[in-house]
Amino acid sequence: MRVGVVTFPGTLDDRDAARAVRLAGGEAVALWHADPDLQGVDAVILPGGFSYGDYLRAGAIARFAPLMSSIVDAARGGLPVLGICNGFQILCEAHLLPGSMIKNDGRTFLCREQVLTVQNADTAWTRDYRAGQRITVPLKNQDGQFVADERTLAELEAEGRVVFRYADDNPNGSRHDIAGITNAAGNVVGLMPHPEHAVEPGYGPDGATGPRTGTDGLAMFTSVVRALVA
């Protein structure tokens, strides 16, 4: 089970995502934005960061990278694709997921441990969670406010395509408290918070058993690795 991790100019969290894949039992394969070759990977992760400085819009230029054409085609054919933070923004710009992200309504960069509720545990990336489960993972972004028109929001809700919702309080003004969504087929998932930063005791958010013990993000990666093995 080889999981590709894409690096764009300005990507920050590619190493963390690759490490999360390895901790989940998979093999991480580094993919470069300018090379359209997917190297036969079984799944792809678009990690967080600030591709091309996010100067035009978050994810707007990365979307046109040669590798993205291959990913869009493969995703339409069912390849599991996960976009985290800037990766989620890129998936929206590439029209693999609906809606868009604008600046947080509080107008500040947020960096905190965030509680989420798993809404959909049937996607390629969330099978190792259970619906209704509360998980804690880091959230760190400037443009995290998910927006979409009312018709799109109604469609996402009706089809169960909201994958994660902010629990307890909404940190950034996202419509319907949405933290992550999926496409109709359930193979493409995007979310703003960072599961790859909560995969290893000693480096994650505070957990029930002590400071920095939280590993709630790991199930995201085991979900796809186990599905590919099975």
Binding site: L56, R57, A60, F64, C92, E93, P98, G99, S100, I102, K103, N104, D105, R107, Q145, V147, A148, D149, G173
Partner: protein, 101 residues
């Protein structure tokens, strides 16, 4: 050398956090008469030679596919800025595919 200007604004129904930040600062600096601020983007696209209708059409396409995201933004102007300036000065040679603001 010709130059096309493209103006992009956040959609009216989308909260504009940047504009809101500026609107909050203006009264503190004594500019109390401005009741609202919205902040957009201006792009200047340069071409060799004149701004022809083909150049304007290409700029319009770039504006809609790359320079703006229709989910959150509107393209409010695509115009030859030299012609625009001439029009402002009273000439009739303006070439604009969008409403001049």
């Amino acid at each position: 050398m010709g130059r096309v200007v493209v103006d992009v604004m956040p959609k009216p129904e989308i909260l504009d956090p940047q504009g809101k930040a500026v609107a909050g600062a203006l009264p503190r600096l004594g500019f109390g008469q401005f009741t609202n601020v919205r902040q957009g983007k201006r792009f200047e696209l340069e071409v060799e030679g004149d701004v022809t209708p083909d150049v304007l059409a290409a700029a319009q396409e770039a504006a809609e596919t790359v320079l703006s995201n229709p989910v959150i933004e509107d393209v409010v102007r695509v115009a030859d800025i030299e012609a625009d300036a001439a029009a402002t000065a009273g000439s009739t040679t303006a070439a604009s595919t969008g409403p001049a603001l």
